[in-house]
Each structure stands twice: as C-alpha cells, then as structure tokens.
Amino acid sequence: MKKKEIKIFFLFLLLCLLIFFSLFFGVDGFSSDKTIILKIRLPRLILAFLVGGNLAFAGAVLQGLLENPLCDPYILGIASGAAFGVGLGYLTKKLTYFFSPIFAFLGSLVAIFFVYNLAFYKGKTNKIALILAGVIISFLFSSITMLFMLFSQRPLNEIIYLIMGNLSIIFNKFSLTIFAIMNFISIIFLIIIYGKAFELNCFSLGTEVAESLGINYQKSTRILFFLTSFLVATQVAFAGAISFVGLIIPHLTRFLFGANYKNLLPFSFILGALTIIAADLIARTIASVELPISMVTTFFGAPFFLYLLRKNL
C-alpha cells in the first residue's frame, strides 16, 4: 500500500513539472507573456491532457474487451476511421468545427464495425486476425482521407497533421465551445465505463467465461464499443490520430499498479495525459517546425509493440 502512495506522489510531481514546462516554455525559451500562456499554451495543455487521457483509457478498455493485449484505438483503425470522418467534415467548410466531431464519431463506429466483423469467426475473435483487420481498415481509411483532402485541395501539411496527430489547433470561441461540450459528454462516458470496471476484469478472461460469470456479452460489448468510439472520435476531431499511446500506457499502468481495472482505468488516464503532454512538448520544441505528434509517440511505441507481439505470439 505504501509503495503505491510513493508511486502516486512521483506521478503527481512529474505532472506538475510537465505542466510547468508546457506553460512557460516555448519558441522564445522561457517566457511569461500572459496572453500566450493563458490563451495559447493553456488550451493546448488541456487538449494534451484530455487527448492522452482518453486515448490511454480507451486503449485499456479495448484490450480487456477484445481479450487482446495488442489492441489500441490506432491499431484497430478506430482513430483512422475518426480521421476519415474529420476529413469528411472539412467538406462542410464553415461548420467544420461543428460537423467534424460528429463525422469523426460516425467514422470510428464504421471502422470498429468492420474490424470486429472481419476478425470475428465462429464465435471467437482471433488475436492476429483482429490486428490485421485493424491495420487494413486503418490503411483504407487513411488513403480515402488523403484522397478527398487532396480533392478538396487542402495542403499536405494539414493531411499529415490529421492522420498523424497534432495539437496546434487554433481555438476560437466557437470551436472552444464545441470542444467543451464534447469533452463534457466524454467525461460522463468515462464515468459510465468506469462503473463497468468490474465487468471489464471479467471480459479479459475470455468470452465464454465472461458470459458464465453473468455478463450479457453482446449488449455490454456494444455499449462499451459505442462509448469508447466516442471518446476516441472526440479527441481525433481536435488533435488528429495519435498512435501507440492507447497501447503502451495501459501496459505500463498494469506494471505499476496491477491489472485490476478499478485502478487501471484512472491511472491509465493520468499516465496517458502525462505522456501526451511530454510528447507534445517534444513535438513543438525539438524543431523549428512542429512535428506530427505520432512521430514522437511511434518512435517510442513501435519497439514496445514489437516486444509485445513477440511475447504474445
């Protein structure tokens, strides 16, 4: 018990440190311009916190739900599906900020529907088939996104930012309001999912065991997929598709705080938030131009994925 408190203390310390750096460090080194800190860096910090938290949380849920430690919103194509929806939203021009999150949600639902049905065979999901289906769907959606972003003559940078994630979104009052509303709903969904933490533990024992423990498998998976897709889509609508956070963070959290979903979900959220804040700090300061954030997360995430793949095959 004591050990856990020390870990929490260190996490808190790290969070404070990262928040300090994110707010006070920028293009001109350490600066204290009030407008920039409050209106540019603070919204960005909040975005990073919510994006990282929600993606890691969603990853943890998906891993349990699909009994597969290799799952993550990015690998399963949910993020690409959402990015596809955002791209579709761009066609609405002026109302982009309004329609993009909605289209993103629909896109992510379509993606998870395809992936799940492609990988579900004779009442069982095959671990590797699921991942392959996800990768294929991910490719498919990325190319379609690219295609009609090119058709609507968006610059290449924007497409890359959408497919690989970037937190440099320009907020105004309208988009900030939509952002707040979407995240308010997300928080409600997070709480609802957290209420199912006990069930999620059972899910990870396999479909049949979960059912024998009194879980209505079809109903529960549908609800959880729906809610999780919303969490992912909301974040993709504002930050693009970010890879590997949803995969690595739940594993790291299990290592630190155990596999029980009661701890796993909240700590995944915190650790995910920390990671994206740190990754964004790197992405926006390491070069004179901003890097897509997936560049940073993939750099650390890909080796870890390969390690997991070896362990699980």
Binding site: G26, D33, S168, I169, N172, K173, V289, E290
Partner: protein, 272 residues
C-alpha cells in the same frame, strides 16, 4: 504521278514555318502558363496542368495532371520539345523527364529581378526575345509607379489556417513585400512556405495580417484565442479579400497584385 505527289508533299512541308512548328511546349507551372499567354505564344502550348486556370483559355489546353503527380506518360505522348517546371516541387519529375531525353526548363524565380530574367529566357525559347523584352520593360515601368512605404510595417501573410503556414525568406512574395517596403515577420525562416507556431505570430506582433486562403475571413482571425493581443487585430488591419493567385504565382500578374496591395494599404492609412 507518284513523283508529283511526293513533290506536292515536299512543298507542303516546306510551306510550314519550319522553325516554329518544332516547338511543342508543356507547362507544369501555372505561372509559366500565364507568362506564355502574356507573350502570346499559347499556340505552342500543347499541355498544362489542372491548376493552370488563368487566363480562361488556359483551361482549354490538354491537361497532363496536377502539379505534384502529372502523368509522365501523357507528357511523353505529347512529344514536347520543352517542358517548363518549377523547383523544388517538381525536382523529381525533372529528373524523370531528363532520363527520357526530354528537354526541361526550370522556372523558379525568387525575386522580381529573377522573374524578369526568366520572362526573357522563356521568350528566347519561343524565339520571341524582343516581345519579351518589351513586356519586361513595360512591367518595370509600372512597378516604378507603385508607391512604396517609408515606414517599415510588419506584415503576417497566412496562406493556410490550420496549421498556420506563411511565407519564408526565399519565397517570391517575400521579395514583393521587400519591394514595396513592408517587412515579412517570418523573413527569418529559410523554407519557402514554413508552418509556424501560433505563439510566434502573437510574439512577432504584426501591424498587418494578410489572408491568402479562401476560408479565412477577418473576423475568423480576430476571434482566435490570444490573437486579440496582436496590433493588426486591435486596429482591424486584417486584409482578407485578395485573390491569392495575384501574389503566389510568379507571373506578370504580381505587378497587379503589388498595385492592389499598395493602394489598399494607402487607403487604410488615410482612414486612420
């Protein structure tokens, strides 16, 4: 009989303007297309891109594709004697065409001076050097009439909103701004079209913001979080009604663009 036929054929061939008929030009750059039309050499232009939309007639010319991925096959089929293209965007296309023994001409002027030189070179290619020199002279004359600013005003040019993309030191537009005496706040960036950070825009605090993309309207810019601190936003000096093609294409039309800009800024000055 046969001999007679050959003779007639020979005569027919000879009666064609022998030199000119050999020129078959393909333009992969909308700017060069405009220059060719200004030089009235459009009859030699057998192919261009879907982005070549000025003047109206340029749209009717056979399209070989877009600027990034034109069809090499279509270009080869046209049997061009010369292909105009622009760097760095079409560097790889240039290499491919050269490998196929197709002559290319790279037109990527970074300043007004370079553009004038290129107009003359293009004129030479079409054997219209004189016409080109005349054109350049008249353009120069018009330029000299343009009012310049003595006070160095700082300008932020935005050519894309999300992410914000602007123009760097080596871009053509930067030279135009220099010419009329405005200071590009991102003249320290080496890339032609660098993506910049929002905090940089706010910190550099421009006097004017010029929007060169179709979606941005002045009120969109001023509603952005944190931008209210910028001088240009405070004093409402955001210009959003310009046709980007007058500024981003290194063609004779930029002279018009400069005139528009100069008039606009002068008017605003009086207004204040």
């Amino acid at each position: 009989m046969r001999k007679a036929l050959f003779f007639i054929l020979f005569l027919l061939l000879c009666s064609q303007p022998p030199k000119d008929r050999k020129i078959r030009a393909v333009s992969l750059s909308p700017a060069v297309t405009e220059i060719i039309f200004t030089l009235k050499c459009e009859d030699y232009l057998v192919g261009n891109t879907i982005y070549c939309d000025y003047p109206e007639k340029a749209k009717e010319i056979y399209k070989v594709g877009d600027m990034i991925n034109p069809s090499i096959e279509k270009i080869v089929k046209l049997k061009p004697s010369i292909v105009f293209l622009t760097y760095p965007l079409q560097k790889n296309i240039d290499e491919k065409l050269k490998a196929l023994n197709i002559k290319t001409f790279n037109s990527s002027p970074q300043s007004l001076k370079e553009m004038f030189e290129e107009i003359i070179k293009i004129g030479e290619i079409f054997n219209k050097k004189e016409r080109a020199e005349k054109l350049v002279d008249s353009l120069r004359e018009e330029l000299n009439k343009v009012k310049r600013f003595n006070k160095r005003l700082k300008v932020y040019i935005e050519i894309n909103a999300n992410p914000p993309i602007t123009i760097g030191k080596n871009s053509f537009l930067n030279d135009l701004l220099e010419f009329i005496g405005l200071e590009n706040i991102f003249a320290d960036k080496l890339a032609d079209y660098p993506a910049v950070k929002q905090e940089e825009i706010i910190l550099k605090n421009p006097d004017y913001i010029i929007i060169l993309h179709p979606e941005g309207k002045a009120k969109d810019i001023s509603s952005r979080l944190g931008y209210e601190k910028i001088k240009a936003v405070k004093s409402g000096k955001i210009i959003d009604n310009l046709d980007p093609n007058y500024f981003l294409r290194n063609s004779p039309r930029v002279i018009e663009g400069i005139k528009i800009l100069s008039r606009l800024l002068n008017d605003e000055k009086k207004g204040n």
